[in-house]
Amino acid sequence: MSVLVYINTLNGKIAKNAMEAVQYGSKIGATTVVTNGAIGESELATLGNAGASKVLVNRVLTSNDPAQTTRLIKAAAESVSANTIVFSQDITGKAVAPRVSAALKAGLASGAIALPDADGTVKVNVFSGKAFGKVKINSAIKVIALTPNSVGVEEESGVASVEEFSADLGNASYTVKEVKKQEGDILLPEAELVVSAGRGLKGPENWGIVEDLAESLGAATACSRPVADIGWRPHHEHVGQTGVAIRPNLYIAAGISGAIQHLAGVNGSKVIVVINTDPEAPFFKAADYGIVGDAFEVLPKLTAEIQKLKAQN
């Protein structure tokens, strides 16, 4: 088995979901990583810790252009005779994996949450996390896009060989006019800890207590749909069936009722804590730990206790 894993390293680091994809690939077969950007050779060699044996790096492609990235991956897949190509199902994976699939006529299982079964089927998220499907890929080359945070990374020690890799990239699809960086450095789709709040917070001016808790934990912040719709919080924080689907280790929801469309995007979380004044709120049925109480009182108390715990460790 020859496995090719594409990772996006354009922002200068190797993200956790990239490590996950590499390790996932290495459990299927001998893994080569293909990437582009400016990360140094010694750092790329650390991908060996996630099981990669070789890294192909292209220094020419410095944008996220899906058509050019597809050509790069196609050339790399040919050079290592890959029979499985793995992506992380992140923003780049969503843009590029389908193009690669169509270019190679290779079936794509997107949203994978586990390694392929003995019969080759891949378990994926469907119905916005309300169910799982078993996908059989009928083509010789298989493409798998892995949901971030669904498999852990156990670091081994290994060193990957790093080679410069050139490919005919063709024309750029567009010119990049501007890049606006998002504030805060914990990205919601790949966050392990998430603090989320809903309409129960009453107004955007009250989000300080949510942000304080998130900061004490090192968590990302999220919100329910109406909160993003009325503009209390940015759209990229909206989680649920029509927002971002997440699978953190811990999801803390304050002042969110737990409507079915909200649950769809968050019920893959390992542990759910619900804080709500209404003991009948539907969210308690999906919770591991419940606090029937006022978020305005509970959140600051929780933050203080987290700070105590952090001070001890």
């Binding site: 354009l10 922002n11 996220n64 899906p66 058509a67 597809t70 923003i91 969503k94 843009a95 590029v96 994996a97 389908p98 193009r99 699939s101 169509a102 079936g107 794509l108 997107s110 949203g111 089927t121 469907v126 119905f127 916005s128 309300k130 169910a131 799982f132 499907g133 078993k134 996908v135 059989k136 009928n138 699809s173 567009y174 010119t175 990049v176 006019k177 501007e178 890049v179 606006k180 960086k181 998002q182 934990l217 993003a228 759209h235 069936q241 029509t242 927002g243 689907a245 811990l250 999906a286 919770a287 591991d288 730990y289 419940g290 029937v292 509970v298 108390k301 929780l302 987290i306 105590k308």
Partner: protein, 246 residues
Amino acid sequence: MKLLVCISKAPDTTSKIEFTDNDTKFNESGVQYIVNPYDEWYALVRALELKEQNGGSVTTITVGTATDDSIIRKALAIGADNAVRIDSEAGDAYYTAFQIAEYAKSNGFDIVITGKETINYNGSQVGGMIAELLDQPFISLATNLEMDGTTATINIEMVGGVEVVELDTPFVVSAAKGMAEQRIPNMRGIMAARTKPLEVLPAAPCDALVSFEAYELPPAKSDCKYVDPENMAELVDLLHNEAKVI
């Protein structure tokens, strides 16, 4: 400006998700189908706004059977000019993309717009595949799209931010939240939709690349453990020592 909007059906967001035939089929009994929210709220509405600003036409395309006609009429009621249905049971994403690309090739569109993903398969696959099959640029997860003549300026969701890009038509774009606001069809729209053209075309031969063999539901949650709101030390202890997530 000729715009093609890809419309898929999806089960209503409150549908009970169950499976039949040994967990190989989605149980459709009692399920109401709606236009997939991303297709309706963002892709279709932005296409209508672009037509209103620049002239042109908005065609919708759906790969599906006659049972899809009601959701297609809904898209027409919201304001699309005409609709095309490729008459076929839905195959996989590649099959769907192939049908749409074949139609787009022979009819020439400036922009093909899809929703970010469907809420039942969540694949985010069809748009990128259409672009590859048409050999056109693909803009994935656009949150804003402005046209000036044949030049588009588009905001793209990126890892850790937003990228603003510029390109000329033709291209394929998938629409995410932010592109437009939901429109509720009015009575006049609903009446007009009844007589708008809905062309039914045969599918082109194409083999699906993947198949769904079976489905399963997540394991039931164990009971919720309640913690006294005055005792957050206990919650922190449970999260630290029992759940081991912090």
